[in-house]
Homo-oligomer: 288 residues x 6
């Protein structure tokens, strides 16, 4: 169960309206790596958690914090839209500055949302649940979380560069710090899991059912060999159980595929001989 | 530019058709973390790569390999669908086994694809590009890649458990090994980058513009404190630049938000006084 | 800001696992009118609210409750999936009952979510933000909310009929009661608004800019006249400002549309004369 | 069956082209609450209608009218796009006004649709069927319809404010009047149904299977109590069968959820003891 | 404008309910190539038509017919769902046949649609407008239409094979005939256009701005040469203006791409030298 | 299996950056008819191909070429974005030209992709797999391919008109030529198939199961008869097996649909008599 505190977690007050920037800020609200994504991802991971309770609690603590981040950004966007010039000016008095704003803002902010935030990204594309994952394997999911916080902080930093409004920057400075903590948090949790169960997900699959020959080979599928000079092609593998090998000309070891014709009731392209005689009758699978 | 080798990278021959399993196998072809996702993610990361050429080459090598994995799984699915009983039986002779197959298979495999693979997941949901990311920041993207290979290998392993067909298992054993390599590969590339630029993405944002107070604090947004016992709440932070702190009762430090009424031309809910007097006239912003 | 209480709002314990029912229950979690929809719809309406604070508070109170409902259903689904037989049986010992379960359950519950709830509907389609609305006009939005609670309660009732599990029914009985309250709540809020501002949304648009002739006419676009006998075609209009009229043969009062040919640089179908002479030369807009 | 009348239902002629406004007008054509949504929603409700024929006829009459509205708006958009400057100007002669138009118009109107309307909204997002509902319960569905006409009229009014073109305003004045009628129509139909069957959807579920304690309680999930002063927390409930009650501190009455570990073949995070001993072997569910 | 005729265009009466088949039949109602697609595609092509009126009229005539086809199939589906066993049986008396039906039917048909048709496909995926095209170039669009009628008829035929219900087959026999006509119709319209303007779309682009060398070459991007034996690699090109050529080893004629580093404010991966010195300071683009 | 050649198939170098044009160019990369669509469509058709090997080889050759086209356009877009002014200018020095660029460019190109191409269209909508088809019937699919190449070339030509950059035009001139070849290629393959199996898809369905009366009739569903003058209403049908007929007043030959009330456990609108007596008790299907 949840309860609401009316104050925001941190300041969310722009110094002045800026409807064009409001459109951009939507990315970290309802985008692929916006706050809605981490909020939903963490809540579902927490609710589905089958491990010991310190994990469930930790995941839900951060998931609960993310609801507050969604709230802060939504509040900020509504204020950036305050008094947006979303109506027609008198014929003879069009102001180029107003035109510029109207051209750059998202028209749905006025038409659909009446100067409110929308649960969409900077292109107006709606948030959807396929942005999230809760797999039941915590090491896999914590890697998803570390990625989400990395992409997310990167986007907030880029948005910081796109404004000079002190109020907006103040809020972003808070989010940037929290995203640093959250990257650290998931790195810590990953380290803890990797030390007890190993680095490869899932750790529970027996290696005897893997094709061992190719488990540590970097395969070069191009002509040059620039790719041979990286860490991924030299030295011990990161899981501590193998050695990287560089395969210059990886071969094709499978069959040349040939599929059987489909049965008549599928009405695919008929086999060649039937195709040719067909004008004189052809197959008629539906006769009964 | 690319060229095609007609043989598959590895065997993809089922021992017998199994249209119900074909539906499940779609997940690792066209699902959120299927082979189409890593193929497209790596290709776009490679084409957009602005770093030194060993990275571009490495990323495109693995992207090119993933096209071959898509090819193998598509070929496998087509064969699992061979001769699927996608037509009606005579009224009086319905076979429960056939019924079971028809109930469990994806009807689109017959109606839409004529017993071929489709670029969708196990629920029939089409693959889409929001499954992928190419952010221009390699450390962020390699974390996305490590996550994708972790989720992907987990799903292949689960699918391995769901069949006993030796041919299918043979192909999956190959993919499971390659996904192990790919996890190792991205871990190696991540290590290389972290060592030179630090662990937090992006590394180029000046800490003086972050709210330092909250950059290493784990905040407890629930009553109990199970979450205080993990690595994420104790000791040095993983970026080596701070110390984790556990905040038992994180406060709300922002304003209690109050938004201004919208302008008349937005036709939001009118302010209270106007709402009440309205039946006698009301505001009419569109008079001109 | 939000905080989490570890206990659920109400019991969510099935008497026994039922993975097939888990698939169906997803509808009221992540479907068009599931709990995620009302949660997100109310939260965004609350955050964007520009009216007096009793409304903002009320909307956020119910939005906060809905997060708890999502939590309850997610928890229920995870337990319904406990021990789902998501793996292959030995060749010679296939159990028809197990087969039936495997055929009817959502394979993604095992492959993707590791026996956890997913933020999707009963067809596996992901929740998306276009299920919600926050328009800035409370009367419009409260009608959306009344609709959502009506569709939602209808679906919960249908799901109640589809199970006899006492634990599941217990939770549904709670949700059915809350949805009754929520219907009553929105009806009350609507009544309050309609009494002060009138029943038509938006109330602030001047009637002199409407085509009055057609503002209270029911138009019959078919041959018979069964539609003439309803309340919508007889008596005073519900906004108290007009009288319903039944138009037997509504005419077409607009032009017969004819569009100009597109400019040459659009390369639409060329006008007839150019189309004919084209092989001898044609227009070449791109010459420069 | 349907037949087409070549004249439009009402005038749809702009006074002059305006490609930037064309982009905005797409919202009421192919948006969440545009004419395509009500057209499809009413047609499917009509075709699925299992009640007496006056309802089926009424719903299909209005559904048929909505096709004509889609036609009018599509025609209007095509004319607003007439001669849009969708090509490059000579290098040295860029006109700021042309630039402004090119920046604000939807490039797909030229590239994809050759200066024609598209079945999308103002952000270019395609119309989809999850915007509609046909539930088989008319009271629920008529509430959906009343909401759709309320949101729809609100958007048309906002678009009216965004232009001064007399031809566009003429068409919108017609649509605004029809949307007023349609709101009245659904209110009338709702009143008719509520009077015979009660106000709560569905009316057919026995109250003895509801948790009565919470069926009329407003629950306060925040610290302050502004929400206690509304109609929804005081007096008789709107269904006439209960009394609203305000619950200041709603308790958590459910369990603190704890989920069992998943079976080995799911490869979720292993239980703690297995996780620790794992490097020395671990579980291997796939051995056979 | 449109008007509705209450009778269906043709019979749509199943001999008996079959909820499992109802799920499959959804494909030709709301699928990628279902009747909703051709209905919407033709209506938008007609409304946007800028060519002479015989085309606009023809396109709208067939678009209007398609609404009737949607109506027929929706009606059929509702009847196939009549009395579907969408509720739980008594504990001790589960009927395997009922179970089978419940496993194979779409649960949303009961939960969401109350035994009515839904505007979705056989996987429950909602229809969306990106299934359609109206490009403003009739030759391009008529090819889209011919494709749609070909895929559509193929799917109807496959569904015919999947049932023996005489009532269902009767309706499908009608649709199969109409789809044959519609294929013929678009072939006729295509022939008419190709004869006056040539076969390549668009016909209005000057060939002097094409790279002529590659305008008639089949390029072999694989090792073997089976592809050299088709009509596409031999003889006169179909547009009558060139000769097919088979290129055994098509070369790469472009640059080896190298992209510049991104500016500092983008926070992409820093250039190598900056990456290395970074721990001692690094770039700080946001200092001001 | 595939291998990568580091050079591009053809030049992809703009003469100068143009971030606004980059947004438009996305259409032919990740749009409905962009290069990702033909790439994926051909690859899946090839992998699923059940006909003789010259077809499989041909389809995969062109599918492999399309990967190279995606690569070229992605590379072009990244360069068009070089140095895009995606950050805020000093307060007092806003440059109108910079503003214009910021208003017209896709903000996600900076925020999400760090000045790289994205797998989306010109409206920022992500590519999805429902843009493609692989039906197993080659004649149907080749018509899909001819359509895709027609729509695709039309869009490339329109984009050619929208720029004067010689480098961009050079690349587009190559693509326009290849699209001409690909139209010719599919026309040739279609001709080959039509000559052996007839023009109607599928050719294998027995005409005795079609309603012959309507197999060659053009039906006029409107008042005027402009549609009677086209090739589609006169002369021999294009499949050579019938004669076109123009039906002036096509009748409705089906039933007037009436659906049965739904069972009680569906909780649809109750039948009229139950609806009326309901307040005194009503049906209670869930009593047990």
């Amino acid at each position: 169960m949840f309860s609401h505190v009316k104050e925001l977690q941190y300041n969310a007050k722009p110094s002045q309206p800026d409807p064009v920037y409001a459109k951009k800020l939507q990315e970290i609200l309802g985008g692929q790596y916006g706050e809605m994504s981490v909020m939903m991802q963490y809540l579902f991971q927490g609710w589905n958690c089958r491990a010991e309770s310190k994990y469930k609690d930790m995941i839900l603590d951060i998931g609960t914090e993310e609801i507050a981040h969604v709230e802060m950004i939504a509040t900020m966007i509504a204020q950036l839209l305050d008094g947006a010039p979303a109506h027609d000016q008198e014929q003879g008095a069009k102001d180029p500055a107003v035109e510029a704003v109207l051209g750059g803002m998202n028209p749905q902010h006025a038409i659909v949302n009446g100067l409110g935030a929308q649960p969409n990204d900077a292109a107006g594309y709606p948030w959807n649940a396929r942005y999230t994952i809760a797999s039941g394997n915590m090491l896999a999911d914590f890697r998803a979380n570390l990625n989400a916080e990395s992409q997310g902080r990167l986007q907030v930093v880029r948005l910081y560069e796109m404004t000079t409004d002190p109020g907006v920057r103040d809020m972003l400075s808070f989010l940037i710090a929290r995203d640093k903590m959250h990257q650290n948090q998931w790195m810590a949790a990953i380290e803890e899991l990797e030390q007890t169960q190993g680095a490869v997900v899932p750790s529970t699959f027996s290696t005897e059912h893997e094709i061992q020959d190719v488990a540590y080979s970097f395969m070069n599928f191009s002509e040059g060999e620039e790719s041979s000079t990286g860490r991924w092609a030299n030295g011990a593998s990161l899981d501590g159980k193998g050695t990287f090998e560089y395969v210059q000309n990886p071969g094709a070891n499978g069959q040349k595929p040939e599929l059987k014709p489909s049965p008549a009731y599928i009405h695919g392209t008929p086999p060649l001989d039937m195709r040719i005689m067909q004008n004189g009758g052809g197959i008629q699978p539906n006769q009964q």
